[in-house]
Amino acid sequence: MNIMTNNIKLPKQTRLCEDINVMVAGQGGDGSLTIIALLSHALRQRGLELYQTSNIASRIKGGHAAAILRASKTQHGGIGDNLDVLVAFDEEAIINAGPSMSPDGIVIYDISRGPLPEGCLGPDVLVLPVPFSRFAVRDLRRDLFKNGFGFGLVARVLGIEDSEAEDCMRKRFKKLSKAALEANLHALNLGFGIADEFGIKHGDNLIELADAEKSERLSISGNQATALGFLAAGGRFFAGYPITPATEIMDTLSRHASKIGCVVIQAEDELSAVNQAIGASLTGARAMTASSSPGIALMQESISHCGSAEIPLVIVNCQRAGPSTGMPTKTEQSDIGMMTQGGSGDFPCVVLYPGDANECFTIAALATNISQIAQCPVYIALDRSLAQNTATVAPFDLESVKLDKGKLLDEATLKTLDTYKRYAITDDGISPWALPGTPEGMNLVTGNERNEWGQVSTEPENRIAMMDKRARKINAIRDLLPGGVEHGDPRAEIGLLGTGMETGVMGEAWARLEEQGVKTRCHRPRTLSPVLDDTLDFINQCSRIYIIEHSESGQLERLLKGAGCPAEKLRGIRKYDGLPFSPGELTDLILTREAQG
């Protein structure tokens, strides 16, 4: 094949790896995802847990795109500090990823578009230059086959057996025509050939991956898991409008809708979407909408209306980096203020924040129940990382999902009543609820202040009674709300607190701090509105708490202070460049702040 294999010095020893990070990067059209997908397949066979993310500009074609795969013995819920292997289809990939390369990392570089840019890689990084693209076009008449080459070479580097690699490819491409599959397999073999030329023969792998016991796993994103949780809890109506990074929820539901019975509508805008969901909810259908930050901002009037009129609704907010259009493909947690306080007026509203795909499932199911139990809006807060990144997780406990429709009245019960008042003042603040279509349950639902019959009223005493009634609802469901997840030394003085996308990285930072002798304890709230007592207790018990969040102004910290936490104890660790924390970065930030005293 004639590649430049001189000057390449292979390391003498195979490096053992329990935890590996691989990036494939290039232009949008380069199909970097294909290599990652093939690799995922192969590494899952080893029983490794996978976490996968991508880094794509909000443009269609062109634009730099990178896919990153982490494979490790346990699920870390995020990517690692450094890249062990980089497959770079262009210069930009080297420039962007260079600083993240592990000192003894391996770079496979496609020199078809130009020579390796200078000064981007450390001295000990091993570079394997291959003109993939040129070869692919020359030998196989299509640029895309370079992924086959690439995978072949990477497989050899990682010690994936040739036959295993071939197997992965057959499975992945099983829907392709036979000819196309053959061409890809040919490319794969050419990739092995390249490896041979570099001296990486079959069995001579540079990296030796750990083996783990293979347990049953789903490979699923937060968006997909949220959609499934909704379906599992009897979710039957979804209306949405496309928007990055929330669209996959609509896509996922559409894909499965007809199997299980769920109406999925692409509305003309977010206002229509949220109000279609409200309409469905009024008839008793379990309804949800989803969007991302600017779309959720647009829904604020309607969400406040659900709070007032006491209409069940689940709203998923896949937060992007804001404000406004901001960076649609980048991650942030900067809508906490909006979700907890964005509407007009005072009304009960629940905000739940899962930490991984499994929790997305359970929390989506729970939110669906709570919305009907408390007859109020319930947010599921995701951030782009949680929403779109894929991880291997244990299968969901489908059996555990129970349906709770709250105080929904059926015809028979209604008939036993003397009077039925839609907004009856009750001890727990929740009024029994009758659906259009039910005989003897006729009622008026309104966003105006109203009396118990639902008739508009501005009478001051009624007003107070109604406001108090609505406010009480939060206490009525408090026990159902998911508490914080804690770990670490319960006597530690230092607390770490973060939610959503901080889940994994906080855990890794905790372990590293522990290794360095810094004892900490972690708390991850899963309910942000209301702020629960266990969160306040945690803060009370620590002497200083690092609030780890993706918001420049510290919205989570402000929320906690607003709930009564003492400002002087809280220390913000904030990131707002659109990227997640890496474990090392977070650890160092905490250590630095600790050193500052």
Binding site: S281, L282, S302, P436, G437, W453, Q455
Partner: protein, 287 residues
């Protein structure tokens, strides 16, 4: 019998056109023997937006301009209901214009009654998109909901009535209700319903109304003819009233019904019953 709310008397000014709309609606509902509990009347915000308080039915008071998507959501989720949306010209043609066009386009089986008084009644008389002169905004000719409806492919029922022409109005309401109950799609009925307090258009409209139902040259199945008739009448200072258009187009909810996804609300969706399906869905993510 369980006692529920008693529909109140309207709060409208005496002489308000909206009384006529309410009367015709109550009449049509009883004429067609539609059980009150199967009727779901949703209203926007405005003087018009309190009609649900005065009719014996399930009622809902939406946000300003949002009554149509809500009604569509309800109609799809439970097609057994007779879903009626009501609102004013501000509600439907100003803040609700986008939903209005899309509601016609979607063609879900909802009857939409737009009470047009060429004014914002509740907020004390500002001009609406159907006022000839926009108060603070330079003049532009009034929008015409019938012309707009005709311009949207998929429209299946477009009609205009006038509160003073109660026979025609009653008839149109009945036809509209029949249309939606037969699941033929969206029925749009604009009723000219004067605001006697801020914009008493009775004298003008009395003189301007033209009954197309009685015009042998008119065709409510030919959009071109209907469009031209309205345009011509307008140029003569007249307003077309009657059944403007009836077309065929499968109703929006037909899809879901066909696939057995409706009614979404009533389905006995015990998750247990769906465990197998859910399991299949979940395992499609297995690795």
């Amino acid at each position: 019998m369980t006692t529920t709310f008693t529909p109140k008397d309207p709060v409208w000014c005496s002489g308000c056109g909206h009384y006529g709309v309410r009367g015709a609606l109550v009449n049509a509902l009883s004429e067609l023997d539609i059980p009150a509990h199967e009727t779901f009347l949703l209203a926007g915000i405005g003087c018009s937006g309190s009609i649900q308080n005065n009719v014996n039915a399930y009622g809902y008071h939406s946000m300003h301009g949002r009554v149509l998507p809500t009604a569509i959501g309800a109609a799809i989720a439970n097609p057994d209901l007779t879903v009626i949306a009501a609102g004013g010209d501000g509600d439907g043609y100003a803040i609700g214009m986008g939903h209005f066009a899309h509601a016609i386009h979607r063609n879900a089986s909802v009857l939409y009654i737009l009470m047009n008084n060429a004014a914002y009644g509740l907020t004390k008389g500002q001009d609406s998109p159907t006022s000839e002169l926009a108060q603070v905004a330079g003049h532009s000719p009034a929008l015409d909901g019938m012309s707009m409806g005709l311009s949207i492919p998929g429209a299946t029922f477009l009609a205009r009535g006038f509160t003073r022409w109660s026979d025609q109005l009653n008839g149109l309401l009945i036809q509209g209700l029949e249309h939606v109950r037969a699941k033929k799609g969206f029925a749009f009925l604009e009723v000219l319903s004067p605001c006697v307090t801020y914009n008493d258009t009775y004298p003008d409209w009395d003189a301007q109304m033209y009954n197309v139902d009685e015009d042998p040259d008119f065709s409510c199945t030919d959009r071109g003819i209907a469009f031209q008739t309205i345009e011509r009448l307008r140029s003569e200072g007249r307003i077309a009233s009657g059944l403007i258009h009836q077309g065929e187009q499968s109703a929006f909810e037909a899809n879901w019904i066909k696939e057995g996804l409706c009614p979404a609300n009533l389905e006995a969706h015990e998750p247990q019953k769906n465990l197998d399906t859910l399991h299949d869905i979940m395992t499609s993510y297995s690795t």
